[in-house]
């Protein structure tokens, strides 16, 4: 971690790693989509709609994983003042929000044919919706200040408060759900997944994870460039001011 604390070294390393991540994402996604859409069998109950799973499940996993990335980045920014951790957290958050939105959207599209409804106030769905709101609140807070440094610190405190709250929200939503409705719609029996479906699923997980890494690196690189150009602008204004 500390080897990466030097922005110049990070930029050099990121530039070297990026093509490999992009290539890995492309290979895994191509293989995963081929497996998921063509090779893997249709489900005996759900038919062809089961193929939505190959996008839906990795998105849902990544939506939670990326929030942990944001929280870990925020923690190391606040505790060790790691100069790149806040860049990573801020760069990761919109990607996480996009994966959360994708999990919700694909879930709705999948729910319509299998459960007969676009949306149920089920514990899982509701928790993911709250996760989306947490992402949006974080992004809004980070961008709400004229001083980006201030937004980074406020956002970091919020991300940590959110991560402490997530288990409580999850638990209370579960409790609320069992109180309100019996779990009838979502009780799809989940037998151990067959390898013909597991292989494409894992390929898609790997592909989307590599995609996340690639986009994260690109977003971090551009954030660093923005930061550098802002610093240069400040220096330029400062010298111009002293001359005048």
């Amino acid at each position: 971690m500390h080897a990466l604390a030097n922005p110049t070294r990070f930029m050099r390393l990121a530039g070297a790693v990026l093509p490999w991540t992009v290539a890995a994402a492309a290979v895994f996604l191509a293989a995963g989509l081929w497996q998921a859409l063509v090779v893997s069998p249709p489900d005996y109950q759900q038919g062809e709609t089961v193929r939505i799973m190959y996008v839906h499940v990795p998105s849902a996993w990544l939506s939670m994983f990326i929030y942990m990335v944001v929280a870990a980045g925020s923690a190391s920014f606040l505790i060790w003042k790691h100069p790149l951790a806040d860049v990573a957290a801020q760069a990761a958050a919109p990607i996480g929000a996009a994966f959360t939105a994708m999990a919700l959207a694909t879930g709705a599209i999948w729910g319509q044919p299998t459960w007969g409804t676009w949306w149920v106030w089920d514990a899982r769905l509701t928790s993911v919706l709250v996760l989306l709101f947490l992402y949006l609140g974080y992004i809004a807070l980070v961008n709400a200040f004229d001083d980006p440094e201030r937004g980074a610190r406020a956002g970091a405190v919020l991300a940590l408060a959110g991560v402490i709250n997530i288990p409580i929200i999850k638990f209370s939503v579960d409790w609320w759900n069992t109180l309100h409705q019996p779990a009838s719609l979502t009780r799809l029996d989940a037998p151990a997944i067959h390898s013909s479906m597991l292989v494409p699923l894992l390929l898609m997980v790997a592909g989307l994870f590599m995609y996340f890494l690639a986009v994260l690196i690109i977003r971090m690189q551009s954030a660093m460039l923005v930061r550098r150009s802002r610093a240069l602008g400040r220096v330029a204004r400062g010298t111009a001011g002293s001359r005048a």
Binding site: F133, F145, R150, I168
Partner: protein, 215 residues
């Protein structure tokens, strides 16, 4: 400790000097409840009364948060509070207590009246009041964190609501559950547990947020 009580007294005094703030929060609380009555219609209102009252209370509590730290931030008093010998965590706690006394307690007092108007079922009132007595301090504690985070931000009011409302969903869930006598004591105990947790953690997080707001 004298500093702690002095801050509570000061906050109460300034709060009572701006009585119109408190009455605006209460009017908003009553107005939201009335809007629900119009929106839902009188027939099904009784079943929804607990949820309506809690939602209205959450929204009203959001409205009162900007006066927690914003005036001190604007006139520079916040720096003095941070530099004062009283630990900032205790300052936050004192301000939260004063905020609860001037925003939470009035909501708590008005709630039974609105409950009558919304045809809250007979047995629900004790649960509603115990729930709110435990829940409104949590709103003040979490709200203080939100108010501290948005100091100096653009559109701070909307932002506080966007940050805090997702975090108070558990309070809403257990608060509404407490209004149903069939649920027994469990929701009240959960609310009490959340209050203790928030009491232990929120002042530290809020103090951290305040410190970084003036760096």
């Amino acid at each position: 400790m004298t500093g702690f009580f002095a801050i509570i007294l000061r906050e109460l005094r300034t709060g009572l000097r701006h009585l119109s703030d408190i009455s605006a929060v209460l009017a908003f609380f009553a107005l939201v409840a009335t809007l629900f009555a119009f929106g839902v219609g009188p027939r099904t209102l009784g079943d929804l009364a607990g949820g309506v009252l809690w939602t209205a209370a959450l929204l009203a509590a959001m409205l009162s948060l900007d006066r927690l730290f914003q005036p001190d931030h604007d006139d520079g008093g916040l720096v003095l509070l941070i530099l004062s010998p009283v630990p900032l965590e205790l300052v936050v706690l004192a301000k939260v207590i004063a905020h609860w006394l001037t925003a939470g307690v009035p909501i708590l007092v008005l709630a039974p009246l609105l409950g009558l108007a919304l045809q809250l079922p007979e047995g629900s009132l004790p649960g509603l009041l115990t729930g709110m007595a435990l829940g409104t301090p949590i709103l003040s504690l979490l709200g203080a964190l939100g108010a501290a985070l948005v100091l100096g931000a653009r559109r701070a009011g909307v932002l506080t609501a966007l940050l805090i409302l997702p975090l108070v969903i558990p309070v809403l869930i257990f608060g509404v559950a407490a209004t149903d006598p069939a649920n027994g004591a469990a929701p009240v105990l959960f609310l009490a547990a959340m209050l203790l947790g928030a009491l232990a953690l929120c002042p530290w997080a809020t103090a951290a947020a305040l410190r970084q707001s003036v760096l």
